[in-house]
Subunit: 332 residues, 2 copies
Amino acid sequence: MDDSHIQLAHGNGGRYMRELIEQVFAARLGTVDPSLDAAPVQMDGKRLMLTTDGFTVQPLEFPGGSIGSLAVHGTVNDLAVSGAVPRHLTLAAMIEEGLEIALLQRIVADFARAASEAGVTVVAGDTKVLRRGEGGGVYLAVTGIGEAWPGVHLGMSQIRAGDRVLVSGPVGDHGTAVLLAREQFGLRGDLQSDSASVLPLAQSIWALPGLRFMRDPTRGGLATVAHEIARATGYRVALDQPAIPVRDQVGAICDMLGYDPCFLACEGRVVAVVAAAEADAALACWRSLPQGADAAIIGEIRAASPLVTLATGLGGERVLQELEDDPLPRIC
Amino acid sequence: MDDSHIQLAHGNGGRYMRELIEQVFAARLGTVDPSLDAAPVQMDGKRLMLTTDGFTVQPLEFPGGSIGSLAVHGTVNDLAVSGAVPRHLTLAAMIEEGLEIALLQRIVADFARAASEAGVTVVAGDTKVLRRGEGGGVYLAVTGIGEAWPGVHLGMSQIRAGDRVLVSGPVGDHGTAVLLAREQFGLRGDLQSDSASVLPLAQSIWALPGLRFMRDPTRGGLATVAHEIARATGYRVALDQPAIPVRDQVGAICDMLGYDPCFLACEGRVVAVVAAAEADAALACWRSLPQGADAAIIGEIRAASPLVTLATGLGGERVLQELEDDPLPRIC
């Protein structure tokens, strides 16, 4: 790989992206902790949480959402999994010359609806127009500000050997739905993106003292979250493949195209690490919610060399490598 | 003009942009007040100020700065003119496949340096990679969070007939420097962008009870700020052309190319409206600072129909129309 220029793989959530962020951004900006979904900020004694994200999904509309709803969900979810109640959003829109205004109106309407459903207000905005051919229709950048919930202090540093890994629902729906919406493969289906606010899921387990860490598995999917945990903790993340919920349709499409659903983006799921003694309680909380009906305990943290392993249904075990090349065209 | 698709003129700061923001964004997002540089947010009794901006300047580096330093200045300036001390920034970078990493490193270094100089910390970030041909090298979206300075309550609603209009330095330097850096005209000069934090200028007059309103004249320049004041207040903004500071070089280039410096972007200037009795005091504050050495009183607010007029040196007066067509290619 040419290492003097930006490649698509720098955006896929895997190793190249991590190195770009560490070496180019975090090294210079100092205070950015690239391992956090949202950053705590003390303002006059109050612990606020801030998060920011750029949204560049193609196509702009897909089954189950659009770049407008996705931008809200992606932002509020980063706050929710960090233990904060989302309060306010800012929106910077970069719009390409030639975009149909009716499409822009639908996207903004989706944004407004998703914000309203998530209970956040949009307090500041900006628009820029990009020259024709210098943008993908529209890009959105959203910043979310939330209030840290008292008593909730989550982080990878709290993860211990023996903890259980949970996921709130089937993985890979968003990545697969966007893939199909691109129509590059001639495949069709009724699969919808899982794009949604995960605040109800996150809030339902905030009160569990054994809750260590949560993350929404977006770019790079479940596998990338597992790799981040292994790298940060020095523990092994041992996943149990048959326990990982995957829709039949997603599994079939991945088999056909050679993708692994564990690497595909979700936009409405939560991965949580919970003390073993409270794993069943957390699972029960999630399963009591419509969004968490298919939640499952999918693995555990082990005091062993920091790899991500996947136990197959046949008693075998394989190592799940960190994502390097782009698994599919830009999906978030 | 085709009114069903986005045009470049939707991004120039003038009428089309205003209508786009009002009709497509503000109408749906509800709580966005499009006339504010930064929005006040109550968080547990504390008055915070939030602002967000997208940065899409071409070329990425220009005399006097780069998209990195510009992104910091543009954000902290929106807070400073709103009466807030900038505290924290978030940065979302959208990077085009094929961008030279060395250039990206310079841009991030400029961002870090400008942030440090402005006394702000970068607390959260995100990177996305755009496919080759779908981005202008790199776009940045920055959100700023500041603390409202106690006792400072600025707004166009406080402007009264008889108030004076001040500008902190020569207008149009940034727009002209970027224009020259594009090399489309075969012109060369040593002109530098005025891109800088205006926090010292803004803070120097916060304590004046007669300070009504401040704005940094970016897209659409001084003329657009004057139009915004006329529209919001119903008063006339009567500017005195000979009093408006313009560098000889900027004036000469504008004469040659047919631009009016009043419409060109500044990125380190402040326009202030101050009660007549305190205009001289404000001017003295600004002139005592290196950045304000060329500050001037350039006009007044009149109880007359809401136009922007420009008195020429020969005793004549002409109406300055609101910007409609794009005055020059994308400059901010």
